[in-house]
């Protein structure tokens, strides 16, 4: 598949008030990668990912979404390739019913009515939303509303899906649904970019981590390499998952690679 590759060349962004949010970011994300972007609030991670679908245009450098330069193309066109699921669903949801919310994007990309109905039924089933289709999204709890936001973007089948803090405020089953749909997107060859503070999610579900710190990209590598890199962890105040910390204390596997999950740790018992 040709797909959509994201290429950032010397990307910098200075907001109109003079605050520089990111500088000199060079990174390429290939179609099909599952990448997390981590760092404290204010490190520049959200600013960076908002460049990946053209919501923000760089003030320095260039970003290519496939063969489209984000400076020269409207967000609407870029959004067909890159879907962005907001951290706060209230920033995204506006329709009077869940059905309407899920249909809206599909209408925009030109599907006809029967195609839309079929797709809405499918996606509602996948995200366990069928029983809520006729309800106003604001009658749902935060967790379910967030799921609606995610489902409405994924329904449009963009090549790249950006998830901003998907597990925040989610309970056990909410987190499970998100992990399952990330795995499904991966198996379909979609690119998944997840911005998150949830280190077990980063460790278990993503293959590559970009670490932002004070406007700069300071680490680009696997979670297994990140969670043994003491200097990056200290600098960014990132805490490894419990099982990773335990395995490190017990020198599992000689500490060459960080242990990323309970299953992973079982191999060394």
């Amino acid at each position: 598949m040709s797909g959509t590759k994201i290429t950032c060349t010397k990307v910098g962004h200075t907001y109109p008030n003079g605050v520089q949010a990111i500088k000199d970011v060079d990174v390429t994300i290939e179609q099909g990668e599952v990448v997390s972007v981590v760092g404290q609030n204010g490190s520049g991670k959200t600013t960076l990912v908002k460049h990946f679908n053209g919501l923000l245009k760089p003030t320095d450098g260039d970003i290519m979404i496939g063969d489209l330069n984000t400076r020269e193309n409207p967000v609407g066109l870029l959004a067909e390739k890159v879907g962005y699921v907001f951290q706060n669903p209230n920033h995204q949801i506006f329709a009077a019913s869940v059905h309407e919310e899920l249909s809206f994007g599909l209408k925009n990309i030109g599907l006809n009515e029967s195609e839309i109905d079929k797709k809405v039924t499918e996606i509602a089933d996948e995200f366990l939303l069928t029983e809520y289709l006729e309800l106003n999204p604001y009658r749902l709890g935060f967790s379910l509303r967030k799921t609606v936001g995610m489902a409405s973007i994924i329904a449009m089948e963009p090549d790249v899906v950006i998830l901003d803090e998907p597990t925040t405020g989610q309970d056990y089953s909410g987190v499970k649904t998100i992990k399952e749909s990330m795995a499904k997107l991966k198996s379909e060859g979609k690119t998944v970019i997840v911005v998150s503070h949830d280190m077990p999610l980063v460790a278990e579900e993503t293959d590559r981590v970009l670490v932002m710190c004070n406007t700069e990209l300071i680490f680009d590598g696997s979670p297994a390499d990140l969670f043994i890199n003491k200097s990056v962890l200290e600098k960014t105040n990132l805490k490894p998952p419990q099982i990773t910390a335990f395995a490190a204390a017990k020198n599992f596997g000689g500490n060459k690679k960080a242990v990323l999950s309970v299953d992973d740790a079982m191999k060394y018992v």
Binding site: L144, T168, G169, Y172, Q242
Partner: protein, 276 residues
């Protein structure tokens, strides 16, 4: 000495079919750190709001059964009055801010109670020191970080010198540094100031370390109660049914109990110590 006594308490919101709380009984001792766990909709927020009186005094609901908090019956006294015994912190700090400066924000509750000016200033200074915000007096509440906002909300609550602090998912919208700030202050209030803490929270790793008692709510009922060491191992195999994650280390240890001398750890330190 018990400071909260709840007997067969039920809460029914007017527009909902099911009861939000369904016949719960609970006793909390003075100085205890109590965590409330449960899936969305299990009743965690309703329990918090019943303790600080917001339900049914500000959010309309039918309440049945007995509830006594710091010697008061919450439905029978105004929320503002109860606030001098029960401080509250919610999940979205921004919604709690209304003033131009950090100082005024903390002063607000005290002014409303008609406290004298000197006492107000003394209280504000002390509260801001307790939460580590001394020196922030003239800053805008809207231009500080989420963790600082949440600590400011705690300072406002503490300025009334409450005996109980109720926190409803206080770290849901914070980054890791902000989470740590809030948990550190919460623990300090509990350990050094002797406040009773009631906290609804999804961060089970922190709960495992800090809580004396953990309550599991399911569909408005308390289905389990105990220390973290008792409760977490007992829900290893039913996480998806009860909608609560357990600490990773507990999950791990329960697969190989022999390697942990038969005890199931809930924290990394416990695990590192007992692993053979």
């Amino acid at each position: 000495m018990s400071i909260i006594k709840i007997e067969n308490l039920s809460v029914q919101y007017l527009e909902q079919e099911d009861k939000a709380l369904d016949g719960i009984s609970l006793e909390v001792n003075e100085g205890e750190f109590v965590a409330i766990l449960g899936a969305h909709g299990a009743g965690k927020t309703t329990l918090c709001l019943s303790i600080n009186g917001i339900v049914p005094n500000m959010i309309n609901a039918d309440m049945f059964g007995k509830i006594e908090v710091a010697g008061e019956v919450p439905p029978k006294i105004p929320v503002r009055e109860l606030a001098s015994k029960v401080g509250s912190v919610f999940d979205n700090p921004e919604f709690q801010m209304s003033q131009l400066t950090v100082f005024e924000e903390v002063a607000l509750g005290l002014q409303n109670l008609g406290v004298e000016k000197d006492t107000i200033i003394e209280n504000i200074t002390r509260s801001l020191e307790l939460v580590g915000l001394a020196g922030f007096e003239e800053r805008s509440p809207f231009e500080i970080s989420g963790g600082q906002q949440q600590r400011l909300a705690m300072a406002s609550a503490l300025s009334m010198k409450p005996q109980i602090l109720v926190l409803d998912e206080p770290t849901s919208n914070l980054d890791p540094i902000g989470k740590e700030e809030v948990f550190t202050v919460t623990r300090k209030m509990n350990q050094e100031e002797g406040l009773t803490v009631i906290i609804a929270e999804h961060e089970v790793e922190v709960i495992a370390e800090y809580a004396d008692k953990v309550i599991l709510l399911e569909e408005g009922k308390i289905t389990q109660m105990g220390t973290p060491e008792e409760l977490f191992p007992s829900i290893v195999n039913i996480q998806s049914d009860v909608g609560v994650r357990i600490p990773q280390i507990t999950d791990f240890a329960s697969k190989i109990p022999d390697k942990f001398k038969g005890t199931i750890p809930v924290t990394v330190d416990q695990a590192t110590e007992s692993y053979i």
